[in-house]
């Protein structure tokens, strides 16, 4: 955790000092060459060295004073910061409940911070009132302005941007926007997803997702979901960052995920969206997000992907169904087929999902997988067998004694031991038996 102020100034000081030193060192080397060639007298070299020394000493002094100054300044600034924040929070609560008048502009930093923190906490009517307050103070416009790379419209043609904004300031503004969650930021944030700074792209995506999470139900939410799905399909952001943003969508999540699944090609149905297409890596993340958010209405859209040609997508679909806990009718066959998939990690997910098969089928499948050639599949089978209702532990203990495969017996005992269903002495006895 770092202090987020004064660092740009320090970077500027360091850059200035070392630029001067770089020139000095270059000159020193050149002077030495001249001295070797007898083009320069010893006195002149000595004078230059003395000058370099004085310059370096001055640089040391500047950096030293800056460090001490920053230490003192930051210590003072932070003293009482929390108290000031608390007092502003109280004041804002007063404004929210009409016991106090809104303070005049411009707001101090603490006031903005506490307002954003409240916005993070309060939803519903109070949340809307806070959004209104932020609009009243022009906070969203200010933050959006600060998040842009240049002031005003970008100059075209050969004219270079006149004043580029500092990256730190842009990132701070994006963090504040993520807390503010104001609707008018959606389009500008989408625009920032194409920024040349990777950190800005990622933070814009995060802010965008958090903003979408608070879009009111109905037509606005559907329109926002449509727009976000388009953005996700078209962006080149890392798939992990995309999944993170999908998980932040809260109530808007199901609409976005449904649209994204529709945009993906489903081989089983031979269907492929006409103009947009989700690549396999992102499709796997979308499926994973469906599972993590437990979006029940989407299980029918997830199920066809259990037969996808890409093993990562197959595994993600099975995992999603496992997390939701429902195997839609007609998917049993695909799920059972995945139990003998040639790819190890697909079998692992299929084994975990096997608990959703009809009871007898599930027991049989898991008993068989307990003897799989993969250690991880055997382990998944034992864990799933253990979780098959109240008689899971006895079933697994039976496997520990009676399974035909020695490795299956060992795994059964190990999982019982790991989960605390056996004490070490009994496990040892069973192991000897196994």
């Amino acid at each position: 955790m770092w202090r987020k102020y004064g660092d740009d100034l320090y970077a500027a000081v360091v850059l200035a000092v070392f630029s001067i030193e770089a020139v000095t060192l270059g000159a020193l080397t050149w002077i030495f060459v001249l001295r070797l060639a007898d083009d320069l007298g010893a006195g002149e070299v000595g004078a230059f060295l003395a000058g370099s020394l004085a310059l370096t000493a001055a640089a040391l002094l500047v950096i030293g004073v800056h460090i001490l100054g920053y230490h003192v300044f930051s210590s003072r600034r932070e003293r009482g910061w929390q108290q000031r924040l608390d007092s502003w929070t109280e004041r804002w609560v007063g404004v929210l409940f009409d016991t106090e008048l809104p303070p005049p502009s411009p707001l101090p930093r603490e006031a903005v911070e506490s307002l954003l923190d409240l916005r993070e906490t309060l939803v519903g009517t109070e949340g809307e009132r806070l959004e209104w307050l932020m609009r009243r103070y022009g906070l969203a416009e200010e933050l959006l302005h600060r998040s842009r790379a240049v002031d005003g419209p970008r100059p075209s043609g050969l004219v270079a941007p006149v004043r580029r904004r500092r990256l730190s300031s842009r990132l701070d503004a994006l963090e504040a926007l993520a807390k503010a969650r104001v609707g008018e930021a959606i389009e500008p944030l989408i625009g920032l997803l194409g920024d040349r700074e990777p950190a800005v792209r990622i933070m814009s995506l995060r802010s965008l997702a958090r903003t979408l999470a608070r879009v009111p139900e109905g037509a606005p939410r559907e329109a926002a979901a449509e727009r976000f799905a388009e953005v996700i399909v078209g962006t080149d952001l890392p798939s992990g960052a995309i999944e993170e943003s999908l998980l932040l969508l809260e109530a808007t999540g199901p609409s976005v995920l449904g649209r994204l699944l529709s945009a993906a090609p489903v081989p089983a149905h031979g269907r492929q969206s006409a103009d947009v297409r989700l690549d396999d890596a992102r499709l796997a993340k979308v499926l994973d997000a469906v599972g993590r958010l437990k979006v029940l209405p989407l299980v029918d859209q997830v199920a066809p992907f259990c037969g996808h040609p890409n093993p990562e997508v197959r595994a993600a679909a099975l995992r999603a169904l496992g997390m939701i806990g429902i195997l839609p009718p007609g998917t049993e066959q695909a799920a059972a087929a995945a139990l003998i998939d040639p790819v190890e990690y697909v079998r692992i997910q299929a084994t975990r999902t096997a608990s959703l098969l009809p009871r007898v089928g599930a027991e049989q499948a898991l008993w068989t997988r307990l003897a799989d050639e993969s250690w991880w599949v055997r382990r998944a089978a034992a864990q799933t067998l253990l979780g098959l209702g109240a008689d899971g532990p006895s079933l697994l203990e039976r496997a520990g004694r009676e399974h035909d495969d020695r490795y299956a017996r060992h795994m059964a005992v190990q999982v019982l031991l790991d989960r605390g269903h056996l004490d070490p002495a009994r496990a040892r006895r069973l192991r000897a038996f196994a």
Partner: protein, 501 residues
């Protein structure tokens, strides 16, 4: 004499150019490191961390702790790891045939019971004698194995690790509460990342309560304070800068997070090396570059690990001697990558830098010192010129250390008092009044011991993370404060395979 003088003049010129280039590179890395800190400090705000946790969006982590004769500090250290803020993790301690009471301490403190354990032995290791589980902490596993060295212990722990990410941590180190979350989140964001390194800071002088550093104080001795500066310089500038370049060659063995499969894929930690952390990262580079697979190895200044640094000169000299021998061993092993365009920035930038400015630097420095009296007696030394140049070199060194102090000032968990800041700035001056030179000589001597002392770690003198009553509480509660020197365990001198960072 007529022939010697020009040679000496040319050598002086070499030293001057070397000095100029080295300082410029340091300055460049310092600036790049500072820029990295500026971005990192904002990239993952608290709210985003909270979001990750609330949505259970994380990868579970296995923390690997190799332990050899760590009876002094193993219990508080493991306790601190068990108290980390992370939703799903396990701690795998590999007791590498300790000859002291390390295992007994663990058994007593965590109610360990021996269990029959099945695991995939994917990496070859010395024999695992027993496996223990804790009755109190279901996520603690202790392996008791025959002595095989730090790398061997780490490999044994990797074999038993269950989770997709593994985090190697020294037994005398503590992790910040959020360190795992901050490091592991990167693996979620970018699937090409195979390893993430974090910042290591000296634990000496800090106050630790319930497994976490709660008060940061400067260590009591100058020797330890100099190391505070060194660690700040090494991590906040050097590694940040190289990471930004995409040619990071080291992830500290004291704290590094790796994809487990990637570690297994390259054959785990190499046993016949003194610097297994550097060696593993080099192997990643070689393998992935050869196979043209996309990968990233990065450093982040935010996940912070606190580690005990030597508090006596003897141990410190041995540590630096070993590090330098290990550096040479690894660089020599991977000499085929040097200036080889197939290895990209690593071969064309990273390795040449390490050869020229890390491996050879003590030679240049020590011969530079020796040259002064030699040229003086030969009568070719221009004394005012030499004095000014030496002073300039010292001021540059101080300037770099000061810059690192400046970065440390921006940490929230910084040395809080103004007096500490003044002492650190003073340490930047005093460091060059003997300390720096002693270590340069030690590293120079290490060059002549590479073959003779191959694989030898040397003695370890540990203070250990002890416990004493916290004076600010009115009842006794375990609190950990690093103890004064000389009260801890002394490693078994007979062992050729000690574990020491």
């Amino acid at each position: 004499m007529r022939f010697l003088a020009p040679v000496l003049v040319v050598y002086q010129g070499f030293i001057l150019v070397y000095f100029a280039v080295l300082n410029l590179l340091y300055a460049l890395f310092g600036y790049l490191g500072l820029r990295s800190v500026i971005v990192y400090s904002r990239e993952l705000p608290e709210a985003a961390l909270k979001d990750l946790l609330e949505r259970e969006f994380y990868k579970p982590v296995s923390i690997l702790v190799p332990a050899y004769n760590e009876e002094a500090g193993i219990v508080p250290s493991i306790r601190s790891m068990l108290s980390l803020h992370y939703p799903e993790f396990e701690v795998v301690v590999a007791n590498d045939g300790s000859t002291d009471a390390t295992l007994d301490r663990l058994i007593d403190a965590f109610a360990l019971v021996e269990v029959p354990q099945i695991y995939r032995r994917r990496l070859e290791t010395s024999q695992v004698v027993r496996v223990f589980r804790s009755l109190r902490h279901p996520n603690l596993i202790v392996i008791d194995k025959q002595n095989g060295g730090r790398s061997d212990a780490l490999n044994a722990a990797v074999n038993l690790a269950r989770y997709p990410l593994v985090c190697s941590v020294d037994a005398d180190s503590l992790l910040d509460a959020e360190a795992l979350l901050r490091a592991s989140r990167l693996f979620l964001e970018d699937e090409t990342i195979v390893a993430v390194g974090g910042t290591v800071r000296p634990l000496n002088g800090t106050v630790v309560r319930e497994g976490q550093v709660v008060e940061v104080n400067l260590p009591p001795t100058w020797l330890e304070r100099f190391q505070v500066l060194e660690y700040a310089l090494r991590f906040f500038t050097g590694r940040s800068g190289w990471s930004r370049f995409g040619a990071l060659l080291i992830i500290s063995g004291a704290f590094g997070v790796f994809r487990r499969e990637a570690v297994i894929d390259v054959g785990g930690y190499t046993r016949d090396t003194l610097t297994e952390d550097l060696e593993l990262v080099m192997r990643f580079h070689r393998r992935y570059r050869r196979e043209r697979r996309p990968y990233r190895i990065i450093f982040q200044p935010d996940p912070i690990c606190w580690t005990e640094v030597p508090s006596d000169l003897h141990t410190l000299r041995q540590q630096r001697n070993r590090w330098h021998r290990g550096l040479w061993e690894t660089l020599w092993r991977y000499r085929g990558m040097l200036f080889n365009p197939r290895y990209g920035k690593v071969g064309m930038l990273g390795l040449p830098y390490f050869w020229l400015f890390e491996a050879i630097s003590p030679v240049v420095e020590v011969t530079g010192y020796l040259l002064l009296p030699v040229t003086f007696f030969l009568g070719v030394l221009h004394v005012p010129f030499a004095v000014l140049f030496v002073m300039l070199a010292l001021l540059y060194g101080i300037l770099l250390s000061e810059m690192a102090v400046g970065i440390e000032t921006m940490l929230l968990a910084r040395y809080p008092r103004l007096r500490d800041r003044l002492l650190l700035l003073l340490a930047a001056f005093l460091e060059f009044m003997g300390y720096h030179q002693i270590l340069a000589v030690e590293r120079f001597l290490a060059l002549f011991q590479i073959r003779r002392k191959r694989g030898i770690w040397g003695h370890t003198r540990r203070k250990g993370i002890g416990s004493q009553p916290d004076p600010r509480r009115d009842r006794f509660e375990p609190s950990l404060v690093t103890r004064p020197a000389g009260k801890g365990a002394v490693g078994d001198p007979a062992s050729r395979r000690q574990h020491q960072r």
